[in-house]
Amino acid sequence: MEPLILLLHGLPLLSALLTHLLSPLLGQRAVRISVSFSVLTFVAAAVLLGYAVSGAAGLQVALGPSWGLLLFDPLSALMALVVSGISLIVHLYAVRYMAEEAGYGRFFALLDLMTAVLLLMVAAGDLITLLVAWHLVGVLLYLLLGHDTGSHSAYRYGFWTFFTYRIGDLPLLLAAALLYHAYGTWSLPEIFAHISSDPDILTPFGLPLAETVAVLLAVAAFARSAQFLLHTWLPYTMEGPTPVSALMHAGIVNAGGFLINRFAPVFVHTGDVLHWLFVVGLVTAVIGSVLMLTQNDVKKALGYSTMGQMGFMIMECGVGAFSLAIYHLIAHGVFKGTLFLGAGGVIREARGDDGVPKDPLYKFVVERRPARRPMPWMLMAAITLAVPVTILIAAHWLVAQDFFQKQGAIVLLFFGWVTGAQLLFSTYHTRTENLGRLVALIVASFTVVVLGYAVISHAFDVFLYPDPVFRAQIYAAADIDILWFDILVGVMTTVIVLGWVLTYYGERRGSRGASRVNRLWMNFYALISREFYVTDLYAWVARSVLAGAARLNVWLRWA
């Protein structure tokens, strides 16, 4: 097994070296080396995951005496397959996509290095290895985003990414320093064993160690996973090559969820930090989704969609559903990677369209078709509210009959209900010939998705955290007082249902609504279109710092 683990980590490094060195000799054919090695890396990762599923995980491979420890556990085996799989797809896509770009060989060498570093990050068994890999991901992403050295904007936004990642590196560094201070070891398994045996240890300045480290880790995860206020880099990095966008949105941005899972033995001894994760994730999910809806650029809309999804992933961690976050990041990686790689085709198709919407008016006037009769509203409302909750409860009941005892599961159930209901609600206004058929299709696909989600997430839970006591501890750590929980669920339900009712009546009234409300709405829209002025604020701060530095240089005569 050990040679296979070393092979998994060595193959991309060797590929980067060979591709770079042989590019001048072989020209564009050198990338075949890179693609072949990517296939081999993926195969190695798949075999290792097979071993892990069969129960052979739990191995450690030491590359050096004090650091360079590689873990082979369910989490690292699963993440290695995800990383190598996405990397392989991006490699294959980039063969043709990047063929006419300058620095073709360099691009593939950097892609291989990025794969190697990501594989190192997911398998890191000690703090130094983790810090090295965590830091290098940001550096390599900066170089990949700035592949086109002729583009100032690509570098400008690449720098935003690099700088935000560096901001995220520092809390991880401080967390590592605190853990090393406390336990005198870099090894993660040893640190986790110490924390489990004595979770109430204090930091040198008197704060609880587990809580302090968890806060620092959470901030590092927030920067990497574009949580609100540390998100501005994500939607603006579209100037980089599309394969890099796909790699970034499908893989790298998910690192926050991975980090929280890796440090689950620390988070399990915290309570408030998990609630804080939930709030930050919720705010990010809502703001990311709102910003996505106002974009007119397909790639930027995808960028904000990623932000919303990352918010949801962090939120899942906040309710104690750690393994669900891993499933979410894999599912998101697959669908977002597909969307990015298909974005070019969508843009091309849109350019060939005349842009006239095929709405009922068009069909009535141009195609001479009769206007459809809308479905009774009350029937739609009943379907909207009842169907999703029935499907969700049935699916969860199927996989774990005690799910009602976990607050986190109920919160996620609630979000599933809102999402399903929203989907059905929106079909009422969908301009389709056969609304009944559409609703039936939506209900069927929703059932498949929910069942799949419930069954697979349960399987992930058992695979990643085989100890049922530990699984229960994570959910318990995220719990809040039951009275407050019930009140919050009640309030949220009321707010959402009221929102739907208001939307319904607002649409029935059409443009006859009060002008004051319209003005307020337009002001809100303006605020969103400027992305809450967060980017402007950061740009102003950066300009001020640079101006201050220049003034200092003049005063001190450049010495």
Partner: protein, 249 residues
Amino acid sequence: MSELSLLIVGLFLPLFPLSMVFNVVFSRVRAPLPRGVLLLAWPHLGLLLLGLLDVAIPDWVAVWALATAALYALRALAVREVGIWAGFMATSAWALLWVPLLADASDFALRYDALGFSAPLVLLALLIATLERRFGAAFTSLYAGLGRAMPRFAGVLVAVVLAVIATPLFPGFFTLLTTIVTASPGVALALAGVWLLWSWAGARLIQGLIVGADGTEPVADIGLAATWAYAAALVGLVLAGVSLTGGLL
């Protein structure tokens, strides 16, 4: 006498405003070889004097040193002359040597740290000389993008700047890591802030030199032999970083 000794050492392990002396000297020396010698020797002179003069170092020097490091890291953000940038980065890095010094680090570790900070700057001094030979001056945003005009030079420059700003696996990374781990939380936070400023300054330098469209004038890139020599030096730095790990072993 002790205060005077401290001030003398403060010239070589820079403490502002004594640090200005090094930057004036460094800007006057233009040839790459003397610049390299200056970069290698300056902090070692400080460490040597520290041993000879038997200076008692008060704890507040750490604050002074951190402020000096932060000041020069901040000022490096707004510098366009690459030579001045190298001088500021050297000053900022060497000032940080006071932190392990106050934590009773061994003489070997301190010399290793100083060398780890200086060696990438020596490579940068050589690159500056290459730029000055071709363009007459080494300024950011002065020429069209070197990434396209001089791809080998640009590649080496990026790697050297990454080494200067203490990117893993270069020695500076392990030095900073060790210093942060052994420091008090407040000092560790300040060190992290200085490191962040270095990253910003490094990215600005890279962008100012290598990004941009092709220039109209053809420029000769560095030779293959020179590229291999730089690569060997950088690999040597990485090996030194990994094997010695900044005293973490």
